[in-house]
C-alpha cells in the first residue's frame, strides 16, 4: 500500500469534523476540537454555530485561535457576552447541542483527566486543570472528545476525574443528575470509539485507513472492546485536505513563530 497523502492528525481532525452537522450549536474547546469545528464550518457545515467559553457566540475565525479568547474570535462573532453569562445562560441554560472537548487522559467510560498526574496534593505533573470542561461535559446535549490514542492518554485508571464521562458506566450519569447525555463519540488518530449502548464502555467502532485493531488494542491502557462491525473511515477527500491545510497555513502565517 502506498504511503497515504495525509497525516494521522489530519485524518483525526477530518473524521472529527465530519461528525458535526450544519446548524448544530457547538461549544468548542481549544486545540484539536477547534480545528475540527472550523474545518466543519469551512466544508459541509457552513451554518454551524461555534461558541468558545471566552464569550464569543457564532464566531467564524479565518485562522485558528491560539488561545480561547483570541481577537479573531471576538471580531468575527455574532455577539460577545461576559464569561458568567456564557456559563450561566448559554451552557447551564441548556442551549448547547455539542460540547467538543480535548483531553490529557481518558478512561474506558470516557471520563477525562486534565488536572494532575500523580496524587493531587503532590502531583508528578500539574496539568492546567478544569477550565470550562466539567460543566461542558455535564450540561451540553452530548459530548464529542478528540485526542491521540496512546498508552499515556488511554489509561486504566485516571489519577483524577476532571470531567464526567459515563462515570462507572450504565446509567450512572442519569443517576448522578447530569443533564446532558455525555460523551457519544471519541475520535483518535487511530479510529473512532463509541460507548456501548448499555454498559457505556467505549468500543472501537471504526479504524482510519491503514490502521489495525491490534494497534489500537496495544496502545490502550485497558482491555479495549471492539465492535462487532468495525467500519473503516473513508479517507480524506481532496477538498477536506486542502481546506484543512489552507486553514493551518493561514493560521501559521497569522501567528508567526508561535504556530510555526
Amino acid at each position: 500500500m502506498a504511503e497515504p497523502n495525509y497525516s494521522a492528525d489530519e485524518m483525526m481532525t477530518i473524521a472529527a469534523a465530519r461528525l458535526l452537522k450544519n446548524n448544530m450549536v457547538c461549544f468548542v474547546g481549544i486545540g484539536l476540537p477547534s480545528a475540527a469545528s472550523n474545518l466543519a464550518r469551512l466544508t459541509h457545515a457552513p451554518d454551524i454555530v461555534l461558541i468558545y467559553e471566552s464569550g464569543t457566540i457564532g464566531t467564524k475565525p479565518d485562522v485558528l485561535p491560539l488561545s480561547i479568547g483570541d481577537g479573531e474570535l471576538s471580531a468575527t462573532a455574532d455577539t460577545v457576552v461576559s464569561v458568567p453569562e456564557m456559563f450561566r445562560y448559554w451552557l447551564q441554560g441548556g442551549r448547547i447541542d455539542i460540547g467538543f472537548l480535548g483531553a490529557a487522559q481518558i478512561d474506558r467510560f470516557a471520563n477525562i483527566n486534565t488536572t494532575v498526574i500523580g496524587p493531587y496534593a503532590k502531583p508528578k505533573v500539574r496539568l492546567p486543570g478544569a477550565g470550562g470542561a466539567p460543566e461542558i461535559a455535564g450540561s451540553a446535549g452530548e459530548v464529542f472528545i478528540v485526542l491521540r490514542q496512546g498508552a499515556r492518554t488511554f489509561v486504566e485508571t485516571l489519577d483524577f476525574i476532571t470531567s464526567a464521562g459515563h462515570l462507572d458506566g450504565g446509567d450512572a450519569r442519569k443517576r448522578a443528575g447530569l443533564k446532558g447525555k455525555g460523551p457519544s463519540v471519541v475520535i483518535t488518530d487511530l479510529g473512532v470509539l463509541k460507548p456501548h449502548p448499555e454498559t457505556r464502555e467505549l468500543e472501537l467502532v471504526a479504524l482510519h485507513p491503514g490502521n489495525t485493531k491490534e494497534q489500537a488494542i496495544a496502545v490502550t491502557g485497558w482491555k479495549l472492546r471492539i465492535a462487532n462491525t468495525l467500519e473503516t473511515t473513508p479517507p480524506p477527500t481532496q477538498a477536506e485536505l486542502e481546506t484543512l491545510r489552507a486553514l493551518h497555513a493561514r493560521t501559521a502565517r497569522a501567528h508567526g513563530n508561535a504556530a510555526a
Binding site: I30, E53, S54, G55, T56, P65, L66, S67, I68, G69, D70, G71, L73, S74, A75, V80, S82, V83, P84, M86, F87, R88, L91, Q92, N111, T115, Y120, A121, K122, P123, K124, V125, R126, P128, G129, A130, G131, G132, A133, P134, E135, G138, S139, F160, I161, T162, S163, A164, L167, A172, R173, A176, G177, L178, K179, H255, G256, N257, A258, A259
Partner: protein
C-alpha cells in the same frame, strides 16, 4: 470615586501585603503592567485569584508574591505549561503555594455572586468531578422547590480587583469591549478596584448598552498604554504570540527566569521602561534558551 493617578501610586496605596487580589482578563486585556508593578513593589503573601492564571501570574508566583492561588485553568494558552506555576505546586519553589482550585463555571458564578452581595452561588456542576474531594469550599445544597441537589460555592470577594480596559474619561468612567470576561464582576465584587487604560478621553461615546464601570465603583484609573501586552487590547494592538511562545524557554529554568525578571521588571522603572528594555534585548538577539 476614581482617582486618576500613576500605576505606581495606585499599587502602593491600594494593595497591601496579605490582600486577596484578583487580576482579571480572559485572554484579552490582561493587566500585565499592573502585575509587574506588584512584583516591582515586592508585595507579599497575596491570595491571588484569577480564572486563567497565565504568564503574568507565572511571573508573580515565581517572584514570590503569592501565598495562595484561587484559579480554574493554569496554562500558557496555545503553548503549554506554566513552569513557575508548576514549580510552585510540584516543588514548593520559591515557596509553598496553597491551591484553591475550582472550575471556570464555579469562579464565573462566584464572582457574579460576589458582585451581587451574596455569600455564595448555586450552580449545576462538579457532578462526578474529583475537585470537591480536595476542596472543602465546594459544597452542595438542595433546591427547596424541586429537591434537586446542586453545587454551592462561596463567593469571590477580593480586597482588590485589577483590570485593564481600553478607555476612561476624565472623570474616571471606564469602557471596555470585546471579550470582557469577568472583569465587571471582579470590580463589583471587590472592595477596591484599580483600572489601567490605553487612553483617557474627554467623553467615552460608548454604545448604549456597552460595558461601563462608572467612576464611583473604581478606586484608581491609571493611564498605561500597552498595559496589557503581550496580551491584546481590541482596537489597539494584537496579541504578541511570539512572547507567549518565548516565555516557555524563559520560564523553564529558575535562574533564567530570575535573570529575565531582574533585568526587565525589577530593574525597570515602569511599564514604558520595561517595553524599552525588551526592544533592547531583541535588537541584541539575546538568547533565552
Amino acid at each position: 470615586m476614581a482617582e486618576l493617578i500613576s500605576l505606581r501610586e495606585a499599587i502602593a496605596g491600594l494593595i497591601h501585603d496579605g490582600d486577596r487580589v484578583a487580576c482579571e482578563g480572559f485572554t484579552h486585556l490582561i493587566p500585565f503592567a499592573a502585575g509587574h508593578e506588584i512584583i516591582r513593589q515586592k508585595k507579599r503573601d497575596l491570595a491571588l485569584v484569577r480564572m486563567t492564571p497565565d504568564i503574568i501570574y507565572d511571573q508573580m508566583i515565581g517572584m514570590g508574591v503569592a501565598r495562595e492561588l484561587v484559579f480554574s485553568w493554569g496554562g500558557n494558552p496555545g503553548v503549554g505549561s506554566l513552569h513557575r506555576f508548576r514549580d510552585a505546586i510540584e516543588k514548593d519553589w520559591p515557596a509553598p503555594l496553597t491551591v484553591n482550585e475550582r472550575s471556570h463555571a464555579d469562579l464565573a458564578n462566584a464572582y457574579a455572586a460576589g458582585a451581587s452581595g451574596l455569600p455564595f452561588a448555586v450552580m449545576r456542576g462538579y457532578v462526578g468531578n474529583d475537585l470537591p474531594k480536595h476542596n472543602r469550599e465546594i459544597k452542595s445544597l438542595t433546591c427547596p422547590f424541586t429537591g434537586e441537589v446542586l453545587a454551592a460555592v462561596p463567593s469571590v470577594r477580593p480586597d482588590v480587583a485589577v483590570i485593564h480596559a481600553q478607555k476612561a474619561d476624565c472623570k474616571g468612567n471606564v469602557l471596555l469591549w470585546g471579550i470582557v470576561g469577568v472583569q465587571k464582576e471582579a470590580v463589583l465584587a471587590a472592595k477596591r478596584a484599580i483600572v489601567t487604560v490605553e487612553e483617557i478621553v474627554d467623553a467615552l461615546e460608548a454604545p448604549r448598552n456597552a460595558v461601563i464601570l462608572p467612576h464611583w465603583v473604581v478606586s484608581a484609573v491609571c493611564l498605561v498604554p500597552h498595559g496589557a501586552r503581550p496580551s491584546y487590547a481590541e482596537g489597539y494592538y494584537g496579541r504578541d504570540n511570539k512572547f507567549y511562545s518565548d516565555w516557555d524557554d524563559i520560564s523553564r529554568d529558575r535562574e533564567t527566569f530570575l535573570a529575565w525578571m531582574n533585568r526587565h521588571v525589577m530593574s525597570t522603572a515602569d511599564f514604558a521602561d520595561y517595553e524599552r528594555s525588551l526592544v533592547g534585548a531583541q535588537s541584541k538577539q539575546v538568547s533565552h534558551g
